[in-house]
Symmetry: C2
Subunit: 311 residues, 2 copies
């Protein structure tokens, strides 16, 4: 009998639900939008609704779901399943999601940071499958980080490990949302790309600043030297941060995903060059940087894996 | 019957040897200087000589030593006991110390990076005794780092973890010996302190630059505002780097040792302030920074612990 569990990727706009078997196959998927009611009760209602929809699609009556895993944005106390703080959703502060959802659903629930579960998903079925240890970077509006040690998410003392976007990369650098300055994600993100352009001497600066990352990618490929230079600088900052991670953790395997990772060919050479400058050759020789393989499914699979692999 | 083992702290100038019982008491100590012959055979001879001296002092004939642990500077493949690279001692590159020393002594030998074993020593009998996880910083000519997870040294993939002095803290910063620039230890070290002074507008800059860290400590305490400012800036860079470590690892306990940590009262407030600026309040609340307790004994105890605690 196949064991089934449900993985949920709780975003600020949409929630993705997946019914996942114990081989890591997503059997069914649902998506619901969060809407305007973001209080605890509304979220629990929404999550229960998605779970109910998937449950009704289980044709084999002998297979009850073994549990529900949820990935949530922000600082998550994964041990107790509490969202301590979700920077963009103040209503979710100190949200005991695990307790409330398991009460509503009457099945085991586990809750973790979304970036951690993306890493867990890639570890289970994606680019990290063959690595015992690796660090996952999800590039987008910030840098989502997940650290996998011995094939499991490393949580640190209270579940906050992997906030790698807030490594300091420039002591006197740009002001960050977190209150610090010169955080890695001020450079290696969509906003970071804008910063590269803003501080450049590009003649077509206005046009470049109005472009999406996808458009910037196309412009660079079409020969726009300023767009090209911005991606190279982005790559250099990415490399410097990976060098820091290598030096601190002695971990040599990196998996990079997220939308802007699609510009891979425009930044990865510079990333490799920069990290070679900033770490020992013994480390460089051992370093492997791979692209993520699972896209949006990673979070669902990772969330499900926290239930499935517990068995 | 008490089990005895020997811990060796192999430095570039001196080698410290300690006969350690399984409660972590150093029963006897020896020190030998390295001298001018630094080739593999000479080092093996020297280490064997120190071990022989300690062995002859074991009065209880029924207690043979259970093994010898060695802490060595540089990048150590601890699994295989090979010094891959010791930046200041090129003759020690690719030195299979474990194999050669265990052949010479006919006892089990383990080899690890010196900063890792200082951390292990503090974990066993010092400031880290009550921590399950912590990061040890040894401040001096650079920053020695050791990461303790679940009471054991975390080695990463090949034993290189803990090269925390080479986290990038200023992307365009000072050139570092490692080939990178703006490494953390370019600021948080004796040279870093000099840099703070060099880039300051101190009227008595020449005098300050000629001073030892100890003298700078005294000058600051005696009211020299420039010396005081340098220690504060040193503290701020220390705090920024600890914030990075907190954000990456989610680990909240830090133990700081090394000579310049003696100026504690002059920099620690600034360290705490700066790290509070650069990490989440949920992390700040949980963070504990302690001074190391074992001084020079930490390395010997840590080296011995890699033998004793294996039993």
């Amino acid at each position: 009998m196949k064991k089934l569990s449900i993985g949920i990727d709780l975003g600020g706009t949409n929630v993705r639900f997946g019914l996942v078997d114990n081989n890591g196959k997503i059997v069914r998927q649902e998506m619901l939008s969060v809407g305007n009611s973001r209080d605890h009760a509304s979220i629990i209602f929404l999550l229960s609704e998605g779970v109910r929809k998937l449950r009704t699609q289980i044709t084999d009556n002998r297979s009850p779901i073994t549990g529900v895993g949820v990935g949530a944005p922000g600082i998550v106390d994964s041990k107790n399943g509490i969202i301590l703080r979700s920077p963009h959703y103040p209503l979710w502060h100190n949200f005991p999601l695990k307790r409330e959802l398991s009460k509503a659903l009457n099945v085991p629930v586990s809750v973790d940071n979304d970036a951690n579960l993306i890493a867990a998903g890639e570890a289970w079925k994606g680019a990290g499958k063959k690595f015992k240890n690796f660090i996952m970077l999800t590039l987008g509006t910030g840098i989502g980080g997940g650290i996998i040690i011995d094939k499991k998410v490393f949580h640190g003392d209270s579940g906050f490990a992997g906030e790698i976007g807030h490594m300091v990369i420039d002591f006197n650098g740009e002001i960050c949302d977190c209150g610090g300055r010169g955080c890695w994600e001020n450079y290696v993100s969509i906003d970071g790309l804008k910063w590269m352009l803003k501080t450049s001497a590009a003649p077509n600066k206005e046009e470049l600043l109005a472009a999406t990352p996808k458009k910037l990618f196309e412009m660079a490929k079409d020969g726009d030297t300023s767009a090209h230079a911005a991606w190279k600088k982005f790559g250099a900052y990415l490399g410097a941060g990976i060098a820091s991670l290598i030096n601190v953790t002695g971990m040599f395997s990196y998996v990079i995903g997220g939308g802007i990772a699609n510009a891979w060919e425009l930044f990865i050479n510079e990333t490799n060059k920069e990290l070679a400058r900033r770490t020992y050759k013994e480390s460089v020789e051992r370093t492997v940087i791979k692209r993520a393989e699972l896209g949006d499914s990673a979070g669902i699979l990772g969330a499900a894996s926290s239930i499935v692999r517990r068995k």
